[in-house]
């Protein structure tokens, strides 16, 4: 409850102040769900010896209210994990909105999603939970909220969204006890994590141009997933996990083309900590490009294809600096993805498949899922996560972490 408590206090304050603001009573709604989530291994035990990736009961309460130009929303979870983490609580989101005709502001913990990718991320620089993605949790848990203030300004010629976060929030990487993560220095157990002591900022500018949704993105902050640095190269004693400085400049466009919707996105990752590319512990500067197409080939069916490429800018410098024995990344990584969805039974049964394949290192990730709404309040999802590829790849390292999952949720 430790982390939820300040949020709940804030909610109570919000309600009180709304009540004091005028004779108009706040219009408050309470909702939530109870959920069971199980994911069991199909390719062997975890590094910690257990046979589940996830085994948890969870309850969420969501309080929502508004009065005049003000609105507040708070979403808090309590969960009990059967795989050693015990009972925990978490404020998923909790913010206050103030809306005027030409501008608005949102302050508090909020989920941000930028860009057009489907489980590929270019300009979506905001925190994610990869463990949730790989452990068969519902999609919403892929995103982590960020404590920030977001200003929106909407003059006629474009819309502007400025995000200022006083402190950095990392993405959650899978737990090494549950997933077989590639570790170049497995013997070293003395590890410490250094969080950036600065905040981060992002700006998104978007508008319609000739029927296309066009956006520009700027981000200044840090790499979301940590890098590893040994204290010395020969006989290292300690590893430091840190988040290198990063800036991202990008653009996207999406609109109708033929029978479907085309998506194009570009991002330049400026590795501010290592612009020369000579530090092998810091990701090199990169250009990322995405082209996607989604259409409906038949009734109640949808197909989405993506081509995604990452291009490393200073590959020569990286290659020269990389110590012998460490796996070398290619200059270019091409990934193809497909998502197929079919709805049945008045859209209460959904069969979907997502598959990603990296042509360079044969990295692959396949996620089939069957979801059925038993009633308006209860739904179940049965799915699987299958991984494969080279031992050092993003998905290849998880080749022994295949799992089948079941999600059951009762909403109220």
């Amino acid at each position: 409850m430790r982390r939820l408590a300040p949020g709940l206090r804030g909610m109570a304050l919000g309600i009180l102040s709304c009540g004091a603001a005028g004779p108009v009573a706040a219009d408050v709604t309470l909702a939530g769900f109870l959920q069971q989530n199980t994911a069991f291994n199909t390719a062997g035990a975890n590094p910690d010896g257990r046979n589940h990736k996830w085994l948890e009961e969870r309850a969420q309460l969501r309080l929502d209210g508004s009065t005049g130009a003000w609105r507040f929303m708070a979403k808090g979870d309590v969960a009990h994990d059967h795989l050693g983490r015990g009972s925990r609580s978490e404020l998923r989101e909790g913010y206050v909105d103030y809306t005027e005709v030409g501008w608005d502001v949102r302050a508090g913990r909020q989920v941000l999603t930028w860009g057009l990718g489907d489980i590929v991320f270019l300009n979506d620089v905001w925190p994610k939970d990869y463990e949730a993605l790989f452990a068969g949790r519902p999609l919403e848990y892929l995103k982590r909220g960020i404590d920030a203030v977001k200003f929106g300004v909407y003059p006629a010629f474009a819309s502007f969204e400025l995000v200022l976060a006083p402190s950095f929030r990392a993405s959650r990487v899978p737990d090494a006890g549950r997933f077989h993560l590639f570790d170049p220095m497995p013997g070293l157990v003395d590890r410490r994590t250094v969080e950036p002591d600065q905040g981060e900022a992002g700006l998104r500018i978007y508008r319609d141009m000739a029927g296309y949704d066009v956006a520009l993105y700027l981000y200044r902050g840090f790499q979301r997933t940590p890098s590893m640095r040994p204290d010395r190269m020969t006989a290292p004693a300690r590893i430091t996990l840190f988040h290198p400085k990063l800036a991202v400049y990008g653009a996207s466009a999406s609109g109708r083309a033929g029978e479907g919707v085309v998506s194009l996105e570009l991002a330049y990752y400026d590795s501010r900590r290592d612009r020369s590319g000579t530090d092998f512990t810091v990701p090199n500067s990169q250009t990322r490009f995405l082209a996607g197409y989604q259409w409906q080939p038949w009734e109640e069916g949808s197909l989405g294809l993506q081509y995604y490429v990452e291009y490393m800018h200073d590959h020569g410098a990286y290659r020269a600096a990389l110590p012998a024995g460490l796996p070398m990344e290619k200059r270019r990584a091409d990934t193809f993805t497909v998502r197929a969805t079919q709805l049945f039974l008045h859209q209460t049964l959904r069969l979907s498949l997502y598959a990603a394949h990296n042509a360079g290192n044969r990295d692959r990730f396949i996620n089939p899922e069957l979801r059925y709404a038993i009633s308006d309040r209860v739904w179940v999802a049965l799915g699987a996560n299958f991984f494969g590829g080279r031992r050092t790849g993003q998905f290849g390292q998880l080749a022994r972490d295949d799992n089948v999952y079941l999600q059951t949720r009762y909403e109220f």
Binding site: Y154, R256, W295, E299, E300, L343, H346, W379
Partner: protein, 261 residues
């Protein structure tokens, strides 16, 4: 001059009589899908299976005409029910004679997605109505002929047979009973390619709102599966002064309380 006036007066009833099938359907489109400058309703849809199992879809629907009758329209929908789509918003820019633009806001990950979808046959939120049944079908997509005129529950109607020019519709042909006074569709029978009755639309209740006769209760029944959808419009109203700016990504992400109550 006087003679001309007399001639016109005499001819007028005949002029009304001489409407073509296409003209009837155009007038019907005007009174069914285009009345007012804008429109708002809280829509409750009950999806009822043959065995009686019921599911409820509830939303606020906002519509604004961007030009004249038969021209561009913008739709905004905000979902209240079921719980797993609460706060989801959906926006359509509807164009005559070309495919619509559509956007969906997914609150779980706070993402706005542009989506491609087939209008012609896709079910609207799993109901027995297709997107076309909800926001209309281009008049030019079908050939229309007045089959006969008859009374339906005491109301004089044109019965218009519409046959799609292309094979991409959900039906092979349909008969529409259009009220001669209101020009609202009061009943519609859709037939499949084998000529068998396929779907049946009935206007169950019509109320006059700000001078516009409005179908506030309607049913679409699939005669082949026995599944039906009952739709009620609560708090329906016209000419509210809905701003153009509502139909934007900004409000898709954060539906204004003023409009979605």
């Amino acid at each position: 001059m006087k003679r001309l006036l007399v001639a016109m007066t005499v001819l007028l009833p005949f002029a009304a009589f001489a409407l073509t099938g296409e003209e009837v359907m155009k007038k019907s489109q005007a009174s069914f899908l285009y009345p007012g400058k804008d429109f708002k309703a809280r829509v409750v849809m009950k999806l009822i299976a043959r065995d009686g199992q019921e599911r409820v879809r509830e939303m606020t629907m906002l519509r604004k005409n961007m030009g004249e009758v038969g021209g561009e329209q913008k739709y905004f929908m905000y979902f209240f029910q079921p719980a797993d789509v609460k706060d989801m918003s959906f926006m359509t820019y509807k164009y005559p004679a070309r495919d619509d633009d559509r956007w969906l806001f997914i609150p779980a990950i706070n993402m706005v997605k542009r989506i491609a979808a087939q209008d012609k046959r896709s079910s609207f939120v799993g109901s027995d109505f297709t997107y076309e049944d909800v926001s209309g079908r281009d008049i030019e997509d079908d050939g229309h002929a007045i089959e006969r005129e008859e009374k339906l529950a005491g109301t004089d109607c044109f019965v218009v047979k519409s046959t799609p020019r292309a094979a991409d519709a959900d039906f092979a042909h349909k008969l529409t009973w259009v009220g001669k006074e209101s020009f609202l569709p009061l009943k519609e029978e859709q037939y499949d390619r084998k000529g068998a009755p396929y779907k049946l639309f009935t206007a169950e209740e019509i109320r006059e709102i700000k001078g516009f006769p409005t179908v506030v209760r309607r049913v679409m029944k699939n005669l082949q599966t026995g599944h039906r959808t009952e739709v009620s419009y609560l708090k329906a109203d016209y000419n509210l002064g809905i701003e153009d700016s509502l139909f934007s990504e900004r409000f898709l992400r954060q539906a204004p309380r003023k409009w979605v109550d």
